[in-house]
């Protein structure tokens, strides 16, 4: 068992992978990579459990969205705190969107026993994702700190 997380913010630099291509060739590998990051950061207690939950959700309906974005997500007993893991791919990874592969991928993880309040931060993030300017800023972000800063300022301080 990994150590529980201490920084409970939605995302930290350790949860950003700007070179997803280097670690994953397809959707499944990409999801595994992002789940692994969440595990390493102490936010997920069980990689396999989390993977199973995300795949189950993905099987219902692909989470790729128009505009090069993939949002694999799940509520899972394996999640300690609401967590966002961000991955960026220059080649693109197919998440089933009609207009092509995803350039940016968000793994959104929520505890499954949560009631309301602490999930609102995820709701706020989801709402920001719709905005083209936010997506573009993420695509153009220079490093992991930039990504974290961008998300925190847009989502957590609102």
């Amino acid at each position: 068992m990994n150590d529980p997380v201490t920084d409970v913010g939605l995302i930290t630099p350790a949860l950003v992978d700007l070179d997803l291509d280097g670690h994953a060739a397809d959707k499944d590998a990409a999801i595994r990579r992002l789940v692994q990051l969440a595990y390493d950061a102490g936010r997920v207690t069980d990689v396999e459990q989390m993977l199973a939950d995300v795949r189950a959700r993905e099987a219902q309906m692909a989470t790729g969205l128009e505009g090069g974005i993939g949002i694999p997500h799940a509520r899972s007993a394996a999640v300690r705190v609401p967590t966002l893991v961000f991955g960026r791919s220059s080649a693109g990874i197919d998440f089933g969107a009609e207009d092509g592969p995803a350039r940016i991928v968000f793994l959104i993880a929520a505890p499954d026993d949560g009631e309301g309040e602490h999930l609102t931060v995820l709701a706020a993030l989801a709402r920001r994702l719709v905005h083209q300017s936010f997506r573009e800023a993420l695509i153009n972000a220079g490093d992991s700190e930039d990504v974290v800063e961008l998300i925190r300022s847009e989502v957590e301080n609102r």
Partner: protein, 507 residues
């Protein structure tokens, strides 16, 4: 415009909120107001009922069952997968605008105008508007069947008139479908006429089921369709006509709504919308239509027939008036059927040979059955603004249908606004029936409208009676619909059902 929306998705942490944001953005960009209820894992902030009541249309962007759907009952609704709301929110908002425009009776005050009043009036106005919207939903889906079926039948008569001579329009109905299947002859005009006629009749078979099915759909959404359609079909079986169809629609819709509110174990909940609600609601609706509605209807039919038989010895003009009133009352329903059957059973060989009064009765019945669609078609031309867009479209087809003695052409108007339309067309048909009887025109054909004109004696009086009835019908409909309008303008408070009823009493 003002919209409300519900977004939801299986997990409830991502798509629900993205769709909400996208819809809010798209609505704002298009200059509309929208409030979104996100039914996600982040807790449910239920929309205020007053906000829902004030909305012009509802958008459901949901991949799972919308919670508390009945709060939105009776509103024009657009339904889309949650992903579509994220990728194409602007298009969905545009669909909602269209739904709001076509779903609301133009003569009625928009639902939003009743905001800020006392609860009681607000509630009254809400019910009146809702009932009109439910009826309009059913009518707008029924109109294609009326238009397609009616025009095909009319063309069938028309072709038969030219291909088969004076009796063509009568002979064409005697060619059975089995005949067409076995040896359809593409070189025979009568065969083509019969083909058009039979397809038209098949389309008419859906008229009442579609009306009932989509009224129920308006009330209870998808779970209402099966009970509504089946109830509507059974309204046809028990001979209840389109008024029976309206009953079936409301019955099916509210039963489905009621069943959908049952608290069921989780294991059953997943099959609720697809299996359980339609199953239970269809059984209840269909059962009631047969058991409760069937017997009193056959009793009414019996009594009415006996009443007509008693009258046949008396004044022919009075009989013509009564038959005219009956023809227009329910257009294909039990009362109409009694009058029509009374006339056609009089067409015995003996009566035709001796030129009995039975032939005048038939002429009166046919003329009286032609004026409702004709009068309403005229009204849509004279005072277009009193009718909704679908009604205006139907008005164009109604000319041909009326001329061909297809009284059903008036049903969409009557179903959308029964309290104003039915009395108006009854008076017009009553006058026509009385006039034809007074002129003593004779007819030995049971159907065909203007396509059997050569078989009519006393044509000038016959046509005059139809013209008068058409004019009276149009005038009364316009009057009945305008009275409500001025009333609403004077007293901006409500368009409640109570007001409508009072108006009718004074007309």
């Amino acid at each position: 415009m003002k919209f409300v929306a519900v977004t939801s998705c299986p997990t409830g942490i991502a798509h629900t909120y993205m769709a909400a944001e996208a819809l809010e953005q798209a609505a704002r960009d298009a200059g509309h107001e929208i409030q979104v209820e996100t039914q996600g894992a982040g807790g449910l902030q239920a929309l205020d009922q007053s906000v829902i009541d004030a909305a012009d249309a509802v958008i459901f962007a949901a991949d799972v069952e919308v919670r508390g759907r009945d709060r939105f009952a009776g509103k024009p609704t657009v339904t889309a997968p949650v992903k579509r709301a994220i990728n194409g929110a602007a298009a969905i908002v545009e669909e909602a605008v269209q739904a709001a425009r076509s779903g609301v009776v133009t003569a009625a005050a928009p639902a939003g105008s009743s905001r800020g009043l006392t609860t009681k009036v607000d509630h009254d106005a809400g019910v009146g508007t809702r009932v009109r919207q439910w009826l309009m939903t059913g009518v707008s889906y029924m109109i294609p069947f009326v238009a397609a079926g009616g025009i095909l039948i009319a063309f069938g008569f028309m072709i038969a008139r030219f291909a088969g001579g004076d009796n063509g329009a009568i002979e064409v109905t005697k060619i059975p479908i089995a005949d067409l299947i076995k040896h359809f002859d593409a070189t025979s005009g009568m065969q083509w006429a019969a083909l058009l006629f039979q397809v038209g009749v098949a389309a008419f078979g859906f008229l009442v089921p579609a009306l009932a099915g989509f009224i129920a759909f308006g009330i209870a959404d998808r779970p209402g369709i099966a009970p509504g359609f089946v109830g509507g079909a059974l309204a046809g079986v028990v001979g209840a006509g389109f008024l029976g169809g309206i009953v079936a629609g409301f019955l099916g819709g509210f039963v489905a709504l009621w069943v959908s509110r049952w608290r069921v174990p989780k294991a059953v909940a997943s099959i609720m919308p697809v299996v359980l609600i339609p199953l239970v609601a269809t059984l209840i609706t269909g059962g009631l239509m047969i058991v409760v509605l069937g017997r009193p209807l056959s009793w009414v039919t019996e009594k009415l027939t006996a009443g007509l038989n008693n009258m046949s010895g008396g004044s022919l003009i009075l009989l013509g008036v009564v038959l005219g009133l009956m023809m227009a009352f329910d257009m294909g329903g039990p009362v109409n059927k009694v009058a029509y059957t009374f006339a056609t059973t009089g067409l015995t060989a003996a009566a035709i040979a001796s030129h009995g009064t039975q032939l005048t009765v038939m002429a009166a019945v046919m003329a009286a059955g032609m004026t409702p669609p004709l009068g309403l078609a005229l009204a849509t031309v004279v005072r277009k603004e009193l009718f909704t867009e679908p009604e205006q479209e139907n008005g164009k087809a109604a000319w041909l249908l009326g001329a061909s003695f297809i009284t059903e052409g008036a049903i969409p108007f009557a179903a959308a606004d029964p309290l104003r339309v039915i009395p108006s067309i009854m008076v017009g048909s009553g006058i026509t029936g009385g006039l034809v009887a007074a002129f003593g025109s004779e007819l030995a054909a049971p159907h065909g409208g203007i396509w059997v004109t050569p078989l009519i004696s006393g044509i000038p009086g016959y046509l005059f009676a139809i013209l008068v009835g058409t004019g009276v019908t149009a005038a009364l409909v316009v009057l009945a619909k305008s009275v409500r309008r001025t009333e609403v303008a004077e007293d901006e408070v409500s368009v409640s059902g109570a007001h409508a009823a009072t108006n009718m009493a004074t007309v």
